[in-house]
Subunit: 448 residues, 2 copies
Amino acid sequence: MLLNVLTQCIPSPFFEGLWRHPEDPSAEGYRSLAYWAETARMLEDSCVDALFLADIHGTFNVYRDSYAPALRHAVQAPTIDPAFVIPAAAAVTRHLGFAVTYSTTFHEPYSAARMFSTLDHLTNGRIGWNIVTSDMRVARGTGLTKPLAHDDRYERADEFVDLAVRLWEDSWEDGAVVRDRETDLFVDAGKVHAIRHSSRFFDVDVPHQTEPSPQRTPVLYQAGASPRGRTFAARRAEVCFVTLSSFASGREEVSRVREEAASFGRELRVLHGTGLIVGRDTADAQSKADEYLRWASHEGLTTKWCGWSGVDLGAYADDTPIESIPPENLYSVRKFLGELPAQRQLTVGDLREYVAVPRRPNRFGKLMLFGTAVQVADRMEEWLARTGIDGFNISPAFAARGVRDLCELLIPELQRRGLMRSSYPDDEPTLRERYFGPGNRRYARSKV
Amino acid sequence: MLLNVLTQCIPSPFFEGLWRHPEDPSAEGYRSLAYWAETARMLEDSCVDALFLADIHGTFNVYRDSYAPALRHAVQAPTIDPAFVIPAAAAVTRHLGFAVTYSTTFHEPYSAARMFSTLDHLTNGRIGWNIVTSDMRVARGTGLTKPLAHDDRYERADEFVDLAVRLWEDSWEDGAVVRDRETDLFVDAGKVHAIRHSSRFFDVDVPHQTEPSPQRTPVLYQAGASPRGRTFAARRAEVCFVTLSSFASGREEVSRVREEAASFGRELRVLHGTGLIVGRDTADAQSKADEYLRWASHEGLTTKWCGWSGVDLGAYADDTPIESIPPENLYSVRKFLGELPAQRQLTVGDLREYVAVPRRPNRFGKLMLFGTAVQVADRMEEWLARTGIDGFNISPAFAARGVRDLCELLIPELQRRGLMRSSYPDDEPTLRERYFGPGNRRYARSKV
């Protein structure tokens, strides 16, 4: 079973309001080296595969047409740039992998390739790239982007990744680096090639600026849920994040993405994204659930939902029927409301309540693992057996204490069951080998 | 006296060919965390002010119209992205400052501001930014830039820095970050402001994404030598790099840049850039000079000169008079030849020889400090007294051994003379306070 820990360099990653928990240092620590070094050390002691750092470009400003709610309630704000945490966390670990979200919309392939080659060198082959096309709405006003339609974003992402992979794989042949002191020959230049690409997005004709790193291409992660995103993942990604909502639909989703990958001659690792609250015993788990409910921020949850959906819930009276929401946004609302029983005409008030009030974790099984270590491990085994996933991408509630609980309470139970290792094998020095086995250090391209 | 150490994350920083020295680990180490952590630790043990990491975007390809010479002889290639070395080096130090070259031509102010805020948080206020407008010629083909004329590059740089400073200084008022758990108030949003800027280069209208860091604005370094560059430094920089060629012209240059800064109501620290070869005694210094001459790469020196000047010395026969070089490049040649006695008609052959053969360090006083610790310290005192500089930006020959010699041989002599401290003072926690004294933690803008 594979296990990633998902977090973000912000005060309250994924659970709005939980920065307020008095024992959780994330409100201060999210921007300190010591905090991230400590997190990395704990995860390595527990043999976790990788620490995955999400990211956002911009600040939410849909709710109340203002940045204020996101700032007040620390909703995906303030941030630091997560990529810079990695070298320091890598310096205090030897095995833990690192993945970071990096946008194909806001960056350029040439610099992106150098950045990931640098991180792969500095981590000795432990880096992964979570490829995102990014939300244009959040980034508005940052100057980072002209608006791109959804399909154009994916067209740019396709070209971006193909070009970056060519810089990593095709520019420097194996054996190009010679380092022969007497003949003053660092590189056998005949084995280094300029990579050419000319399109409406990119215009590149140079060799890669960095010598080959242990993995060359970082492990490619992707989480696209749209058909275009799924094809993108199947063709190019190596680890695919899914958020499954039931065993039945989950099994279907997992086999669909595996089949699509197989049609490109490729293999994918599929990780199910989920929250976690784990207690020493039932009472401890319940008391943590109570804390979770107490500290959750209703305004924060609303702010995040509005930012994601593009619907300003502050702009409508409670009794407004949801059909009055403009058609371009109604799509996100309906998708979301699919989860609600539709016995009667639904109003913005229903929506607001559903969005703002966190469900008790035990009623919220699909997005939260909850209970004692035994209960959670049982549940994880069920997910594994019934959906065919390869493992989990776990986001612990309460950023710092949640990581400790994961490592001290849950992982020992998973190790006892043989679901997780108790030490890192010596023959898997790179992150890719962690996922695909010893010797599989190089990226496998689509065969089609 | 201020002392920076200047290097680059490449095999042979500033001295072409010296990666070949059998005892120097830089040919391998330049891309490893351990190498940079060790360098940082040594510099901190010796109370150096800052480690300054230069950078380049692209690979030289002027000489022989090819990338091959730069690759063969490791001329500013291969590189890693130096910014990622800093968090790991910061994690093993407490006082050492870090400066990194970052281009206003190839990046965007919004992301740049977040990157430097991140580094300032992670280093606890020890970060500086060496502002460069970058060489378009080297970057050709990287897709990072459309060609910009020299003055346009500076116009973009002016706007870039002004906008970044506004994001750092004006977006979040002091006291904006509240972190009040009970009222669910992380940020007093009334104290956070969107920064607006609309021009042909940038279109920004958002608040800064990162909460204020210890210094807010990184210490701004600049090295512009053109009149436009000098005005840029006087108006915006805090530390100015100069490369002086004599005491007399040096004194004039230093007072001119100080006067220009004063006209903006600003104060500048001026550091003279120089190489260093220091020996235990005269014989050791001579033997190091011999090694320097032995391992220097003639082809590498030619490649670098051609890359910088834009003149392909491989394209002309030796007896070509230099006047035959195309007018747009003749300027760089003449500037360079100002150093040569012009007794007769100079040819490309003269130029090639002058470029390719390294001078013995003791005949090359202006760009190299050379001798025993006592001799070098005498020479430094002379530079300080006769030009009015505030200190040095030293680039040691032999990257790793050179740093060790600096720390073990030269700095103890400078400390004995009272030119350098023997421990970091407690009341200067930030890099800016190191340069401008306790309490001067914030950037001082132009008053005009």
